[in-house]
């Protein structure tokens, strides 16, 4: 029962077993590879979460979103008349998360790059783009700015994957990607 009894004297200088020594070296090399994969991907990879974020207020973010809707609305959808906006490539696109909807819907062009701004009006929400499976936390009071390039045309869903109260599971919206004009 040796792990249960106190070791005596100097155990620090006990020589290392070959099994342990070899494994520690292999495991450490693997740990270093995994560590350096992250900075490597920042330089050479294309999928990195933006570090750009600002402190904001619901009113300020609402105003910016409303200005975008007024300028680029192309149609309305569903009984709730949710606006669909199609901002030009390269522009700023705002999506509001609130209890329990995403507002407005956006239509982006395939292969073009946009600056997507996300913020919540109330509690925490989870931006989950399906079936792409991109998942980002959305905070109240913080505006997160992501540069995003949709690569495939189609109709995507945005669902909420951060629990936000009793109607959390009803919080869903669409995101359209159309062929570039």
């Amino acid at each position: 029962m040796s792990a249960l009894v106190p070791p005596q004297g100097v155990w620090w200088k006990q020589p290392l077993d070959r099994v342990e020594g070899t494994w520690i070296v292999i495991a450490f090399v693997w740990c270093l590879i995994m560590f350096f994969m992250m900075p490597y991907w920042h330089v050479f990879g294309k999928q990195n979460l933006s570090n750009e974020a600002y402190r904001t207020t619901p009113e300020m973010f609402q105003a910016k979103t409303q200005a975008m809707v007024d300028k680029f609305k192309v149609r309305e959808e569903t009984d709730l008349k949710i606006p669909v906006v199609a901002p030009p490539p390269g522009s700023d696109v705002y999506i509001i998360a609130r209890l329990w909807s995403w507002w407005p819907m956006v239509e982006l062009q395939e292969g073009k790059t946009y600056r997507l701004h996300l913020a919540s009006m109330d509690w925490l929400h989870g931006f989950s783009l399906q079936p792409e499976n991109i998942n980002i936390q959305v905070h109240p009071g913080y505006e997160h700015v992501l540069t995003v390039t949709p690569t495939r045309a189609g109709t995507y869903s945005i669902i909420c994957n951060e629990y936000c109260g009793i109607n959390h599971h009803t919080m869903a919206s669409r995101l359209y990607v159309v062929k570039a004009k």
Partner: protein, 576 residues
Amino acid sequence: MMAVNRLFRTCPSTGLVYHEAAEKLIRWNAVAGVVSLLVGGILALLVTLTRWPAVHLLPADWFYLVLTAHGLDMLVFWIIFFEIAVLYFAAAVLLKCRLATPRIAWVAFWLMILGAIINNVAVFRGDSSVMFTSYAPMGAHPAFYLGLILFAVGALVACFVFFGTLVIAKSERTYTGSVPLVTFGAVTAAIIAVFTIASGAIILIPTFLWSLGLVAHIDSLMYRTVWWAFGHSSQQINVAAHVSVWYAIAGVVFGAKPMSEKVSRTAFFLYICFLQLASAHHLLADPGLTSNWKIFNTSYAMYLAVLASMVHGLTVPGAIEVAQREKGYNRGLFEWLRKAPWSHPSFSAMFLSLIGFGFLGGISGVMMGTEQLNLIIHNTIYVPGHFHATVVIGTTLAFMGLTYFLIPTLFRREMMFPGMAKWQPYVFGLGMMSFSLFMMGAGTLGVPRRHWDMTFAGNALGYEFPGTAYLMMGIMGISGIAAIIGGIMYLLITVGSVFLGKKIATPDFKYVAAKDGVAPKPAPQPAFGASGHGASIGMAGFVAPGTFVLALVFLTSFILYYFVNWKYLSTVWPLS
């Protein structure tokens, strides 16, 4: 001066020495843990039956309520009560020492009980369905936070009773040399617990005041950052505790010696330094924290704590292999493993815990904790898939294995239903492995966690998940039921044995109240010779070649799965 209770009992079958006051506290803490497990288990059944799409049992409000209570009863109350029992065991019993201040330890225990009850009542009232994480600005009833704070204060006091016991053992010289490895692992767990509880206090006390209207605003990002220093670290206590339990069971069942005290203790030291940084795993998809902070913290400073886990994952089975080979099971790579006591529930529970924790929990944890890979995993049901592998297979199953050892020696009862006990770790462990695996599978298809209705019934904008996702959620449901049957078996065996099992008498033990006289402290223990492995075992200069091969199998799966995930990420929309 107060009379000091130095009443000790020696267990006739294991030779362990129990301090009377410590023994009672260990029992009560373990029992409180198992009661929490019972409540949490009933809730687990309800959660599983709701997320199994074909059953979809509960209405939404009940689902969110039950899920909140399930998280708290399992992740906090079951595990921490049991861990306090493990801490007292590792200090008082293994060091053959009296427990420091049993009265204060009882105050700690009742504070924890009170906190657990207040918190559960708050949740079951129905106005605190805020999940285990209770992310501000979503608010719960003040009693919700108050219950957690009281529980945490109790647990903190218990940690200091543990540290106090170490001081007494040293000053009363109940042992010589260094503390046993299992106790050292418990020290690691207690240190992480102190950091955990302090972080919990930093965030939960202001949140409690906010719920009373005394504080105006709680920042959501600040809350998540500090809360996870509590929420994630609390699960790191488990890692340190269940690794210690692995070493303990290897020692109890096989008489296995640690391959090297230096390596195993250094690995625990890496836990002490770096394990808690992994709280950042939860913030990789959040705005405002830079990639520098995320990469450094999420990787436990260059994966040094992962290195430590990989070391423990080798040294525990390695020690078993050496012990088995020394007993004569020295043929081939795996005779030692084939001839292991697979029907001994302590061993099978420990071994399944080790395999499940490593292959499922460990690998998936590193995936989620990689800054960029987190984007395709964050808040999907992959996350609970991961932590059911770590906390349920890793911790709970290891604790179950330890219980089978404790029933005769601590509770002094013969185990009831020994036939069922042989099967229990397999039903529970394999059920849980399948449960975790299919949860992770559904998560890679984007199924969200903490979500009542993945069909989005009646929602014009709902998303239609692929059929495979439903299939996986169905298999998850069936596997969950299997695991719950395993849990019921455990509860039947433990509750039956503890209350109805045949009593085991301790020869020459007479209870003496502390005021009637104080027993002398036990004699110092004889020194054990330094361990040296015989040169005649093993192959090619490796004393544990079978374990080494298993470790390489693990590493290969790890590397393959790691790069499969990067490949998958590279097909996702470019983001920067």
